[in-house]
Subunit: 313 residues, 2 copies
């Protein structure tokens, strides 16, 4: 039996058919095309879903469960998106609208939670507490405890990007000072890279971006490190420290057995994992043995998790 | 039917008889007398327990469950204290030793977890996620999820005092910089009070401690506030901010529905709760409605929780 998972984002809608081994056997993506009404977006979600089904040579009757991950605060019990800023959704009954179209129950969940559940299915076991963090423009998080998605009071937990790690520090987009994501998001790394380059005009990173500082990305410092640039090495080391401070806070509060990192930065593999593990080893609670690794499913985590939301609560 | 709960501390051993309404009907305390061997400490635990039973006119046969809360990392599954610095315990089979003496199973748990469970029993419901923090020399924490004690990987979660809230900040006793307890413990408040007094020689707090700065306690700033001293008001306001930063971090990660505060500072009631609630209201995730209140059981929380450890996992 197959399941259908939908990853609704501000840029793209991705629908995928998932088999019992958590493999995506067919997938279809299309632009979300914002701003638009919930009704029209639901129309495109159906379009993407049927095209994915067609690619897999399946019909809706072959699907045992349908689920969707949406940005924002989602009441997964009622299937309602309470609010999602980028979609401009307020109390949208996404589950209800989709259930009517599909003729079967559609599970709804916050997208980071769905992705965390997908990673849990392929890398975790029921004894694990797994925290999945996605490092992108901001930092998102999902928590799996006892084999189930944990989302705290009124679906508001797991806001890991807005833990304050430096209350006298730099301003975050949320208005507070010193949030984790103000130091450890990909955007923050880009800022840190630019700052270091401006102070070190001889850094090889300048040639990596053809002398144009606006071409700096989250990869630049890692690329510089790989060709032996000392400034790049310092940037990565400092950035890994920032990431690690947040991870140690997560360890001190939630005490997960596994932390799984996704997002563009995670593509750097050991270049980012090694300094993180070193920092955590020095700063973790004495008894804790949390393993930190790169997400296995990458961009498919949201689809795999959404498809399996029927077993997530 | 009655239960027996034991709160083992670095200073005192308290044993109490708890009825089905979570009331302590009889209690006996005696000094722990450290340093001493586990065997001798177990002897005093038994002594305190039998004296508490005698005060209640009960025998061991009237007791349906026995539990103990111990400082340190406790493997509650095996009943072993993995390590407890202040007791100088390493892999002590406290549960086994006590079970043999009592002739029945004795449950073991970390003391902060046991106290959190006690508070949960009297102020929580199964739908709650409850975080109990104890503000004393340091800051301890216990987490109750889905009606059960949650302690993370290898019993290492809930180390709430060592979340870093200011990584460029002041040194903590653990060696790291900017831990929650370095700013928000009772000890930290005493330091903040002294510093403010030294800068404000006209503060009424000087007369509250008879001109002797060594007499400053965690109460001094609150006492000053109550008689209208401006410096004391600033100290309390700033201190409440520090406490709140940690609580908002707990809200952003764990998203509890309830946060219960115990320890000496909590005796100040609304004088500490009101500024905390104000800060949280400004800084919480938009969807979260966490209630913050003072622990109901006070010093008895550890006994009540320990007595009920049979239903805590």
């Amino acid at each position: 039996m197959y399941k259908l998972g939908i990853d609704l984002g501000g840029t793209n809608i991705a629908a995928g058919i998932v088999d019992e081994n958590y493999s995506v056997i067919a997938k279809y993506s299309m632009p979300t095309l914002l701003p638009d009404t919930p009704k029209n977006i639901v129309g495109r979600i159906m379009d993407a879903s049927y095209k994915a089904l067609k690619r897999a040579n399946l019909s809706v009757d072959d699907i045992s469960s349908v689920g969707i991950g949406s940005p924002g605060a989602v009441d997964s019990n009622k299937g309602i998106v309470l609010f999602a800023n980028n979609l401009n959704f307020r109390n949208v009954d996404l589950g209800g609208m989709l259930s009517e179209k599909f003729g079967k129950k559609v599970y709804c969940e916050n997208d980071a939670n769905a992705a965390a559940f997908g990673e849990y299915l392929v890398t975790g076991s029921k004894e694990d507490t797994l925290v999945a963090i996605t490092i992108g423009t901001g930092i998102g998080g999902g928590i799996i405890i006892d084999g189930k998605i944990y989302s705290g009071n009124r679906y508001s937990g797991g806001e890991l990007g807005h833990m304050v790690i430096n209350f006298e520090g730099i301003k975050c987009s949320c208005g507070r000072r010193g949030c984790f994501e103000a130091y450890a998001s990909a955007n923050a790394l880009i800022g840190q890279t630019k700052e270091a380059m401006q102070k070190n005009l001889n850094s090889a990173m300048w040639s990596l971006c053809n002398g144009n500082i606006n071409d700096v990305t989250g990869k630049t410092a890692f690329d510089g490190l790989k060709i032996g640039d000392a400034t790049a090495k310092q940037v990565v080391e400092k950035y890994a420290d920032y990431v690690s401070i947040g991870l140690v806070d997560i360890i001190n509060t939630i005490g997960p057995s596994k932390i799984c990192i996704s997002g563009g930065i995670s593509n750097e593999g050991e270049y980012i994992l090694e300094p993180i593990r070193r920092h955590i080893e020095l700063n973790r609670p004495i008894n804790c043995q949390t393993s930190v690794y790169v997400a296995k499913l990458g961009n498919d985590a949201g689809i795999v998790g959404a498809a399996n939301l029927d077993i997530s609560r």
